[in-house]
């Protein structure tokens, strides 16, 4: 017997985000998780000494947000990340561009960078403390060194992956070296630079916490550590929350900047 296959819109795949009870499914899972945690904490299914209820954490967070200490910690942490980022990223981008454009620079630096890159630079912290003392400089430098390597490598990759045709257009039209640098190499490297920035923001946050655990008397990381010494678990969780929000915020900030600076590079919309 012949069958008839109907092809119409009812078979078309559904577009857009899946929703449950009118909410995007991505929002549902954390809400469910927090809800379960809250119930578990209140019923005593988990030990609130280690896992205080989300509502308790939030309440503590709101209370702390009224204090100068909280904002002081946040401010100094942001400052460490910002200074370290700039100190590392600016020379990193310049060296990466130079490596991408000039063969002698590339041949001289490539083995060095490749050898040094995999070393976890946090291991250098004691040495940096010896050199720069326990003040802010050693913290900036620890973050900056990591950022430098990440930015160098990603900028270099950005230049190298720029289609050769654009350099050929510049060369055919007799653009000077500097012009080529500014009109082809730099814009061509921007997507790589943003990839680098995205990784750097995550790494910087990890390093921030690491240096503040060990050598600071202020900052979000220090406050988490301190909360352990005095056994204020709620405060510790507020620290976790702040770090998580910072991580999320940085990621959105980089996305936003990327859309602003390189609108032609639209990988997000695919």
């Amino acid at each position: 017997m012949a069958t008839i296959e109907t092809i119409d819109v009812s078979r078309a795949p559904r577009k857009g985000t899946r929703r449950v009870l009118g909410m995007p499914i991505g929002l549902i899972s954390p809400i469910v998780l927090l809800g379960l945690w809250e119930i578990a904490a209140r019923t005593g299914a988990v030990n609130v000494t280690f896992f205080p209820a989300p509502s308790t954490i939030l309440a503590t967070g709101f209370a702390q947000a009224q204090t100068a200490q909280f904002w002081g910690d946040l401010g100094i942490s942001l400052q460490r990340i910002a200074v370290g980022l700039v100190m590392g990223a600016v020379p990193g981008v310049l060296v990466g561009l130079a490596m991408g454009l000039f063969r002698p620079v590339r041949e001289a630096l490539n083995p060095l960078i490749a050898a040094l890159f995999p070393i976890p630079k946090i291991a250098l912290l004691p040495l940096l403390l010896l050199i720069f003392g326990i003040g802010e400089t050693s913290k900036y430098v620890t973050i900056a060194i990591n950022v430098f390597f990440l930015m160098t490598i990603n900028t270099f990759a950005g230049v190298v992956s720029t289609p050769k045709i654009y350099f050929e257009v510049a060369r055919n039209l007799k653009a000077s070296r500097l012009k080529t640098y500014l009109t082809v190499a730099l814009p061509g490297a921007l997507p790589g630079i943003f990839t680098g920035l995205r990784i750097c923001m995550g790494t910087a946050l990890i390093l921030l916490v690491a240096v503040e655990f060990s050598t600071a008397d202020s900052g979000v990381g220090y406050r988490i550590w301190w909360a352990w010494t005095v056994f204020w678990v709620d405060t510790m969780y507020v620290g976790f929350l702040v770090i998580a929000i910072l991580g999320l915020g940085f990621s959105y900030a980089v996305d936003f900047l990327e859309r602003l600076v390189i609108p032609w590079h639209r990988k997000h919309e695919r």
Partner: protein, 272 residues
């Protein structure tokens, strides 16, 4: 325009990729003279070294043997501007900045006068109302028109085009050929135009030069004395057009078969 001869002189040029002795010989000792203001089309089987040759004119490759001389008559004009087969508009510049790039990059930007020139060619290529757009917002045909606008606006003494319409669909190609012919008839700069379309070569060129299969040599030169301005549809209907295209195919067909055989041999050799 001055009617002087020898705008471009190719003198015993060969190009070897890799080792000078055992490397791949892409072009083998070619000679060619292109007159000032002449529109020369080069056809040949793929892989015969057409791109290699035009890239040497553009200063992107250097001959292994021999010499290429291009007369640079006016230091205020850049010597060459190339239109590539691939998309080559800078994604990070607007349409207007792309079109102005040649003049700015070569240091021949002259303020308002240059801006007028850029606007003129944006208008001619139908891109003026898109001047604030970015290339990724344009269609493939518009992007290629932008490359053409950029090259013309640069006002070079020699325009180099390497299969500029190969990536376009057939209808767009017909329109672009006609637009290019009209644009060129207005300025009459020297043009080297590479194509695999025999009809395209006859339609556009003052002369068509045929290259052999690899290593590339010039094996024939055919004068196209069809009247200008050339209107695509009218020219295509004339018996002369058909005769010239057929004559080209007679010469080229043999070379294309040879090139095919070479290619088959090479792939088999590589497979073993």
């Amino acid at each position: 325009m001055t009617g002087k001869t020898g705008k471009i002189e190719v003198d015993g040029v060969a190009k070897v990729f890799g080792d000078p002795q055992r490397g791949f010989r892409a072009i083998d000792k070619v000679d060619l003279t292109i007159a000032d203001g002449e529109f020369v089309c080069i056809v040949g089987p793929s892989g015969c070294g057409k791109s290699t040759l035009i890239r040497m004119f553009a200063g992107l490759e250097h001959p292994s043997e021999g010499q290429i001389r291009i007369a640079h008559d006016n230091p205020d004009r850049p010597m060459t501007a190339m239109i590539f087969q691939q998309e080559s508009a800078f994604p990070w510049l607007t349409v207007a900045d792309n079109a102005a790039y040649g003049l700015r990059a070569s240091g021949t930007w002259r303020g308002a006068e240059s801006q007028e020139r850029v606007d003129y060619f944006l208008q001619k290529t139908g891109l003026y109302s898109f001047r604030d757009f970015r290339p990724d917002q344009l269609s493939g045909g518009m992007k290629q028109r932008l490359s053409i606008a950029r090259a013309f606006a640069t006002n070079p003494e020699v325009l180099l085009m390497d299969e500029p319409f190969a990536a376009l669909d057939e209808q767009n190609k017909l329109i672009m050929q006609e637009e290019l012919a009209t644009l060129w008839e207005e300025f009459r700069s020297t043009v080297v135009f590479i194509t695999h379309g025999l009809d395209e070569a006859v339609l556009l060129g003052d002369r068509v030069v045929v290259m052999s299969s690899a290593p590339g040599r010039f094996i024939h030169s055919l004068e196209i004395d069809l009247p200008r301005p050339r209107k695509s549809a009218e020219i295509r209907r004339t018996p002369e057009f058909g005769a010239l295209t057929a004559e080209l195919w007679d010469i080229l067909g043999h070379e294309v078969r040879t090139a095919r055989q070479q290619e088959a041999d090479r792939i088999q050799a590589a497979g073993r």
